[in-house]
């Protein structure tokens, strides 16, 4: 099985084959290596590859894998190219303001129909005693406010659409 593996702007072609000792893995057509891959704690894996020992954290995060290598996180997707065609292209969400931080909406600074300039503060979300003032992602009109003051929001939640 060969996967198309994407990390940000970088794409690798990675072949994987199960063996008695673990997996035979080849990257971008280079000679495959034997990889010994063991689960230790519930989401920590031990890798032995080319004699080197690595410990990585591994979580499934929607269609992606969230991989922690000694405190540095990597968001990676691995797709079987044969299935890739089946995927739908997502719509553009350039004007949609999302929160990276989970928390609670403390203040709305705009109302639907208001005109805003890119960079203008439009909403304040708070978590852990810190207020995060979020700015309009683009020039435009407030089309849709999807949250209200006091509401709890998860990481990644859509807040306000500017068009």
């Amino acid at each position: 099985m060969t996967y198309e593996v994407t990390l940000g702007d970088t794409v690798f072609s990675v072949s994987v084959e199960a063996t008695a000792e673990g997996y035979l893995v080849g990257v971008d057509g280079k000679e495959p290596h034997q990889v010994d891959f063991r689960e230790l704690d519930q989401k920590v894996w031990s890798l032995l590859m080319g004699g080197r020992s690595y410990e990585v954290g591994l979580q499934q995060d929607g269609e992606e894998w969230s991989i922690d290598v000694y405190g540095v996180s990597h968001q990676v997707s691995a797709v079987d190219p044969r299935r890739k065609a089946l995927r739908l292209a997502g719509g553009s969400d350039q004007g949609l303001l999302k929160t990276a931080m989970p928390g609670r909406v403390v203040r709305l600074l705009v109302a639907e129909g208001d005109s805003v300039a890119k960079g203008q503060p439009i909403i304040v979300v708070e978590a852990m005693k810190m207020e995060n003032e979020m700015k309009a992602p683009t020039d435009g009109v407030i089309k849709n406010i999807r949250v209200e003051e006091g509401q709890a929001v998860e990481a990644g939640a859509a807040l306000i659409l500017v068009e």
Partner: protein, 503 residues
């Protein structure tokens, strides 16, 4: 003066500092009563305390800031003393007074000392009267925006807004121009109200790029006051300390002595009792300005403990009982070098944005001269309601260089999966030449350092891991959706481990 008995302590706090107090009490043979809000039922301080009592909903004002309820529950549980930790009600004079009036011992300075030093503006007056230089700025805190704006115009931008009752960077804002002032003022007041139950804010001239150096003091009820040398807290983000070290690598011996003497003088000026910290801004030329006095145990107290061998939390309880200090100034010697790294649930690559959530994997570093003061464990959900600091990594070395190399080793071992933390960022700081030289200031945490962290990725390794993970997921025996697959794979492995036992 007669001694007070302390046999059961109510801990009016949560997180790692509540755990720290549980440990100090346990070593003294004293029972502890933890309180917990709804999301904290399974928190570490609840697990480790002798007793544990629910205190109310998540919102701090209904739980950890509810002084009346805390006192009532403490009395009902048979407590004879209250330890406030830091933050929450620790610098609230009214609470200290109410505790004392209830008949319980307050483990901290007198309400009068808290009032004198707790109001940043009042403390400035006292220190100015004593001839200690302070940062220029307004003296009277104001709730009137127009007056504040006029004063800001007088002093000239940039200015710093600070919560009058504050500390720890909460309710603090650096303001570059008049345009930004009103929004900053709103935000600072809102944060101050939430953090300290008091929205009074004052302003002072912003001193750009100073070092932040503070002195630990310890005082008893018999008039003895000693200092335990300084801590350097110049590595900050969002006005909040992230790395502290002691000794301060650039402090000249004569400045150190002068600063420590001023700190003892400040404590004596208010008849201080217990552990306290006097904070200063240190200029390039060795001049220093009084900033404020924190009238409680400081977050970064462990680095002082590591170099002096004095257990400050136990010393607080000892003097609260009315005992004289066990040590005179001559008994306090500094050996080696110590650093503290604050492990926050936050994402350095997203501007240190808070990142609460479920901790999936949590493995602390161990071995020689590594100390972790933590409030969490694997399986604990870090609540969104409280401070993002989940643990403190404290390292001792015989020299500063050894401390740095040991810190790097410890950070490499620290494994947290499920929430974002600054662990990788800290390893970058340790490699930075400016930090290694010791000559850095409060503007040190820059965008460049954060970009370097992103550059440290190992994309090929991550690609291999993702491909294997995807392969396992695609070839898992029973497909019930991805999450179920991951779970079942894990169980299969766990069972395999069990079976393999006799092979």
């Amino acid at each position: 003066m007669s001694l007070s008995t302390i046999s059961r302590v109510l801990i009016a706090n949560r997180g790692e500092i509540a755990v720290r107090v549980v440990r100090a009490c346990a070593e003294l043979g004293i029972e502890t009563v933890a309180v917990f809000s709804e999301p904290d039922r399974e928190a570490l301080h609840v697990r480790l305390a002798t007793m544990a009592i629910p205190i109310g909903p998540a919102n701090p004002s209904e739980s950890y800031l509810n002084g009346e309820k805390l006192i009532r529950l403490g009395l009902e549980a048979g407590c004879d003393a209250v330890h406030p930790g830091y933050g929450f009600l620790s610098e609230n004079a009214d609470f200290a007074r109410a505790v004392t009036n209830s008949g319980m011992v307050w483990i901290g300075p007198s309400p009068e000392a808290i009032e004198a030093m707790g109001s940043k503006t009042g403390a400035r007056t006292i220190m100015e009267a004593a001839g200690v230089p302070v940062v220029p700025g307004t003296l009277g805190p104001s709730k009137d925006f127009e007056a504040l704006a006029a004063k800001a115009n007088d002093i000239g931008f940039p200015i710093m807004l600070k919560a009058s009752a504050g500390g720890g960077g909460k309710g603090m804002r650096l303001v570059q121009s008049m345009d930004e002032l009103e929004r900053a003022w709103d935000a600072a007041r809102s944060e101050a109200a939430k953090s300290f139950g008091d929205d009074t804010v004052y302003l002072e001239k912003a001193i750009i790029c100073p070092r932040h150096v503070e002195v630990q003091v310890l005082a008893d009820t018999h008039g003895n006051v000693i200092h335990l040398h300084e801590r350097d807290c110049s590595v900050q983000r969002r006005h909040q300390k992230v790395i502290e070290e002691t000794p301060c690598p650039v402090l000249q011996e004569d400045t150190r002595q002068a600063m420590c003497a001023v700190a003892v003088q400040a404590a004596k000026a208010v008849d201080y009792v217990g552990a306290g910290t006097v904070e200063f801004l240190l200029g390039d030329d060795g001049s220093f300005y009084f900033l404020e006095m924190n009238t409680r145990l400081q977050v970064e107290h462990p680095i002082t403990e590591m170099v002096t061998g004095v257990d400050l939390a136990k010393a607080q309880i000892w003097v609260a009982m009315g005992h004289p200090l066990k040590w005179s100034q001559e008994d306090i010697e500094v050996t080696g070098h110590a650093m503290e790294f604050r492990i926050y649930a936050e994402d350095p690559s997203a501007g240190f944005l808070p990142a609460p959530g479920l901790i999936q994997v949590y493995r602390e570093p161990c071995g020689p001269w590594i100390r972790v003061d933590s409030g969490v464990y694997a399986g604990f959900e870090v609540p969104i309601h409280y401070d993002p600091m989940i643990a403190k990594l404290v390292i001792w070395g015989r020299t500063r260089d050894e401390c740095i190399e040991r810190s790097d080793r410890a950070l490499r071992e620290y494994r947290i999966v499920g929430i974002k933390t600054p662990i990788a960022f800290f390893r970058h700081v340790l490699k930075n030449e400016e930090f290694r030289s010791g000559v850095y200031n409060t503007s040190f945490v820059t965008r460049e350092l954060l970009d370097e962290v992103k550059g440290e990725q190992n994309p090929e390794l991550a690609a291999v891991v993702a491909a294997i993970a995807q392969y396992r997921s695609d070839h898992a025996p029973k497909a019930k959706g991805k999450a179920a697959e991951a779970e079942s794979m894990w169980k299969k492995d766990a069972r395999f481990r069990g079976v393999r036992r006799w092979s």
